[in-house]
């Protein structure tokens, strides 16, 4: 059974699958007009006012599946026609208001916006929205929880504060603030915010690989893959990737081992550092705390590090990164990454790709995927980089008088913001900020098929399945064979 958390994910998946299928069959141009009807057969509308609007929205999703709008500088876009114009963020009084005598709400209101109206048997609080500044003090004050603050799910999800309502009541993204974390993509209940997809580029690379003299395509997969595909094993996913036409599959977690190794050394040298593996976190620092940019680790991310090592050994190959992350799609476009990684897709898109090629992974044999250490693999969850760097310091026998690690692991941008605010003022006690934009780390990424409390335990379990137990054991090979450096 295929498993998504929400119907929105499934809808997006269907569009990606159809687009990938047409691309595989070289029928994109003639086949695209038929996709909306395939996905919304009618005659009864199930999601919107009518099937024609549903189909029009599918058309917009197709544009995103084909890479979206190049002129838009981020990796996520609002589909205005799909935005349901949720009510404005405002404070409302519900029928739970009993018209009590205390009037804590009115007393708490700094603007005098609350009055009381007669409802027959009792009075009820009433908010004058022309005065209300939505501070939420009345919400906190009411002992009956009768006053609520409604915030649009997209705005609530957007921790950098990049989403606001435009004059047509549609969600609008300010790209000066957006860090492409993709939280809004997963949180919008109408699927009106979507990440750009490069799935057709992958199809093209796989096609070219099959031609004589074509470049082999390597898949680099993020460690959060473990447990993502509910009905198949990770070994079967590896087989599935090879059935798609990938020459081989390599763990990004080995890149993470290398990153931990270099990052620990860099930390000892500099004394204070923030991690650089999460591109949304890096972007958040650059956009909000430019003074701290100098403290961002100079390391490549595990994805880019792994790709660099592979391209040194196989300069002719193409590399597709498959992970839970939307921001990685933007990272791939950076100058120092674009020659290393060729395309980035998510687990969601991988599921679409596998189904477009009619591959039933549950019938395939288990293949192996084992290069990294426990520590490289647990990068996928909050606290993972901290644990790995701590381990490397131990393995390198760094003594406390040389350097003492004081780490803070920030799960989600709100926690990142707190640590960065302190660091910016010079009052942060810790000397190593692990920043992950998604809550729980990469396992909470918007491109994951499922998000749940069990994911952390899954990643830890996956870590324990690693052949190599120490970071040193996983990376020592490159001391002999070369190919890895910062």
């Amino acid at each position: 059974m295929r498993k998504f958390d929400t119907n929105v994910q499934e809808l997006k998946y269907k569009v990606l699958r159809e687009v990938a299928r047409l691309a595989k069959d070289d029928r994109l141009a003639e086949g695209i007009p038929g996709i909306p009807e395939t996905i919304v057969p009618g005659p009864v509308a199930t999601m919107r006012c009518c099937i024609y609007k549903e189909r029009a929205i599918v058309n917009e999703r197709i544009k995103m599946a084909l890479g979206g709008h190049e002129e838009i500088p981020g990796e996520v876009e609002v589909l205005p026609i799909a935005c349901d114009e949720c009510p404005v963020s405002e404070i409302t009084v519900s029928d739970a208001c009993r018209g009590c005598i205390a009037h804590r709400c009115a007393n708490a209101c700094p603007k005098g916006a609350i009055s009381f109206v007669n409802r027959g048997t009792h009075t009820q609080a009433h908010i004058d929205h022309s005065k209300c500044i939505t501070c939420g003090k009345c919400v906190a004050a009411c002992p009956y929880s009768a006053i609520t603050k409604n915030v649009r799910p997209c705005e609530r999800a957007c921790k950098p504060g990049a989403i606001k309502m435009d004059e047509d009541r549609k969600a609008h993204i300010s790209y000066e603030k957006c860090v492409s974390c993709g939280a809004c993509v997963y949180q919008c209940p109408f699927g009106a915010i979507v990440d750009k997809s490069y799935i057709t580029k992958v199809v093209r690379l796989l096609k070219e690989a099959k031609q004589e003299g074509g470049a082999p395509v390597y898949a680099v997969v993020a460690p959060s893959i473990y447990g993502q595909f509910s009905d198949v094993t990770t070994g079967q996913v590896v087989s599935g990737l090879k059935a798609l036409g990938f020459s081989t599959v390599i763990e990004a977690a080995l890149g993470a081992d290398l990153v931990a190794y270099f990052e620990a050394k860099e930390l000892v040298e500099k004394g204070f550092l923030t991690t650089s593996c999460c591109p949304a976190f890096v972007s958040y620092i650059k956009k909000n705390f430019p003074k701290l940019e100098q403290h961002i680790s100079h390391n490549l991310s595990p994805m880019a590090m792994m790709a660099k090592v592979i391209k040194r050994a196989h300069p002719e190959c193409k590399i597709v990164f498959i992970g839970p992350c939307v921001a990685k799609k933007g990272e791939q476009k950076q100058e120092r990454v674009r020659d290393l990684v060729d395309v980035v897709i998510t687990f969601e898109e991988l599921q679409a790709l596998v189904d477009a090629y009619d591959i039933d992974m549950s019938t395939l044999e288990d293949d192996v995927l084992n290069n990294a250490s426990y520590y490289g693999r647990v990068f996928a969850r909050s606290g993972g980089v901290r644990d790995a760097v701590e381990e490397v310091l131990k393995e390198l026998e760094i003594k406390p008088e040389q350097f003492q690690l004081k780490p803070v692991a920030c799960s989600g941008l709100e926690e990142c913001k707190l640590a960065l605010l302190k660091a910016n003022k010079g009052v942060l006690e810790e000397n190593f900020i692990e920043g992950m934009a998604c809550e729980q780390g990469c396992i909470g990424g918007p491109g994951c098929l499922t998000h749940g409390p069990k994911e952390k335990a899954m990643v830890d379990k996956y870590g324990r399945l690693a052949l190599e137990k120490k970071v040193k054991d996983a990376v020592i090979i490159f001391d002999v064979l070369g190919g890895a450096d910062q």
Partner: protein, 83 residues
Amino acid sequence: MVKVSICVGSACHMKGAYATTQMFQEALEKAGIADKVDLSASFCMGECKDGPCVRVDGVKFHHVDQSRVESLVTEEILPRTQA
């Protein structure tokens, strides 16, 4: 320089490619030809069932576990360094 590339992809790694690599380093030094050999990594030679795989100047060798490293060095690599 003789080019020796050792596959460290998952399948070969599981079959002991790291031990093979370390063995290679030792055997090359013992034979006194470490400076004449360029050791590097490969991430897949496409023959996962027969790993660990090693390529010497383009020629592939299969099942190169620790026990086969020394003979490979003396029989295949040493003569090439003298050629």
